[in-house]
Amino acid sequence: MEKTLDLELSRRQLLKTTAIAAGGLVLAYYVPFGMQRAFAQGGAAPQSYPPNAFVRIAPDDSITIVINKLEMGQGVNTSMAQLIADELECDWTKISSVSAEVNPVYNHPFMGIQMTGGSTALASSWEQHRRIGATMREMLKSAAAARWGVKPESCKAEKGAIVHKTKGKLRYGELVDEANQLPVPTDVKLKAPKDYKFIGKSMPRVDAPAKSNGTAQFAMDVRLPGMMYAMVAHPPVAGAKATAVDDKAARAVPGVLDVVKFADRVAVLGKNTHAARKGRDALVVTWDVAESAVSTASIEADFKKHAEATDAPLAEERGKVDESMAKATDKRSMDYLLPFLAHASMEPLNVTINFDGTTCELWSGHQMPGVDQGAAAQVLGIPPASVKVNTTYAGGSFGRRASKTCDYVVIAAQLAKEVKKPLKVVWSREDDMRGGYYRPMAFHRVTLGFDKKKLVAWDHHVVCQGIMKGTPFEAMMVKNGIEGTAVEGIAGTHYDVGPFRCRQTLADSPMTTLWWRSVGHTHTAFVMETMMDELAEATGKDPLTMRRELAKKSPRHVAVLDLLAKISGWPKKKPEKGRAFGLAVHESFNTVVGQVVEVSLDGKTPRVHRVWAAAHCGQVVNPEVAKSQVESAIVFGLSAALYQEIKIEKGAVVTGNFDDFPVLRMSEMPVVEIAFVPSTDAPTGLGEPGVPPIAPAVANAVYKLTKTRVRTLPFARSMA
């Protein structure tokens, strides 16, 4: 995937500037649609630009940065502004940010659609946003030079003004009108790292004050005049349709305004969310669904059966595995099982929508606003341009708000089509958790062949449900029956382990799947990194030294392991009594993260006291925001590893809230220490790469305490 991306990067071209409305200077870029597949979002080069494409400098010197990514906690409203501000040489205190509307000008430079995902916000904007800042700076410089009658080269940009040693100083706000008239330079030079002003500094998060005093606006908080609150009776089993409804009890609930049968579902509209919920729960809906025998156990058994196949599609083979395996004197076969997982972001899914019969406006936290726009337009039978999409702050997402079917937007649009009045469609926590999109279950079978304590063959079979089928990324991510997300982190591993093979079976289940923070790496890293510890034990080596040796051709792995050893004291430091250290390292989204954990057992529950994390993600744009991402990933991954599992009975998800899908709490929070390998390389991903190493690191520590290998997650299940 990344190779293609580089190619796209080099084809970037600057198109034009436009000066529109309110005297602002506006820069717009067009990035060719290289990666676009199935989504029809715009087509060719845009013919017109929104007034405030990426940056608007107003005559009063205020600077508005339009953020074309969803702020879902990862800090894009701050760090992406830093990229522009650094080259623009502006006054940070004058900056504010707003979310972009839908327009091809905001398309992801690599992906060809407007989207947030794949840990690419900074990686994909690194060149683009700095270039935007630099271009604008040069135009302001030329405008000042023209006014003074001096050469632009004799002028300097400094803290929001152009200065000249004899002519004095002109503020950006005084120059915007003139700058607007100038041609756009195409050969701006970007700064050397030593000259960075904002890049590499922990600029305060621009969203922190509003998110500390309750004024931050999430989709859930959008209020429209006359708005009704809607709760929907969702099918208990994916695909079931409501055939009949008895709504007598629902209509008797105080505050219920209406009951609407729409598409395959039934909605209750209320004067507030409680009335709608109580009414919804009082509905008696008949669903056309056959008795289902599908359960967590039945899917697991099915996946396990698939693992027996010896002719599954080959993802990668190095050397001659069968030949080497035949010579092995000692063979060990291990089975791994990882469960379905829900995203469970703090803000349950919701959409505020207003369709008047001709035009539509909607508000939500959109990871793919253009795709959601297209889906709503299709449902409503109006052109996409008639759907105005507002991207609010998202109360978390972790992949869920990049729905491959736009499910919750489609449902809201279907209801709005019937009602034609302002609506807020709210999902309860249980609706959200049972809503049908999950990190796929995965079953791995690994056979290692040894000859006199030396590894001679590694045969790995992944049975996993795919994610990409039917999505715009299918052509890119599914090749010869192999889906990249199911074997990422195994096929192409940096470990040089000799004869090595990875097969993949894409299994089916009635469950729908979706990318979940770090996608396939969530299960592949667990298997690979616990296997590496088994290998270290079998060959009598130190786990860190062995990994460093096997991955010596990857400079990032080596640098991360060295830094990790330094901050954690590995291997000399001794854990406290009753505790053990565990280690794991994994590359995802071009970033390598290594973690050492200190673990004890609280009864049968592993308790993680400390985590040391080292990461190589290229240039760190905002160290505090970057550290927050790794802290967050550790908590996210640890919650899943310790406790989380989506359970299915009779075809339906029965897990529903934080009581049966626990999230780590304050009292369980380890002390986390994070360090980054210093680098001026272009940034690589960081929102997700902190997740994969935590589960295997804990499992490796647990082994030292129990002498039992944990191969099934969550720990709550395998250690029960």
Binding site: M72, G73, Q74, G75, S202, P204, R205, D207, A208, P209, K211, S212, N213, G214, T215, Q217, F218, M220, D221, R223, Y229, V253, P254, G255, K271, N272, T273, H274, A344, S345, M346, E347, P348, Y393, G395, G396, S397, F398, V426, S428, R429, E624, V625, S628, E631, S632, I634, V635, F636, N657, F658, D659, V663, L664, R665, M666, S667, M669, V671, V672
Partner: protein, 150 residues
Amino acid sequence: MELKINGKAMPVDVDPETPLLWVVRDELGLTGTKYGCGKALCGACTVHVDGQPVRSCSFPVSAAAGKAITTIEGMNDQTTIAVQKAWVENAVPQCGYCQSGQVMSAVALLREKKKPTDAEIDAAMSGNLCRCGTYQRIRTAIKQASKSLA
């Protein structure tokens, strides 16, 4: 019925068993208080009733009548200002959705215990979930706010 919210008397016309959360959010437009679970499991809906932190998603509005209700919008005392300042300086919020509830719990803690220990922070804050995992920063921020108030 009439509610006393953030020092103001506010009449509301709702089913008495409606959880306080939905009255403040949907009927009164005070949206800083959040819905997360509806079962008092996550703390996103924390408000103060007569100064005590309560989970408004599981607190019927009828039980709040006649009492002093404070939501995040009505928090402006010295302790709150210190907590919010520490929240910003330590870059606590990520997605931010749970943070109103976290702030409400932290302020209640600091009013009770001027210098909370780690165990007291655990006890007071473990009812507030954060899916972004901001706990370490919350702990640091509470200690900083405590110091600044001393």
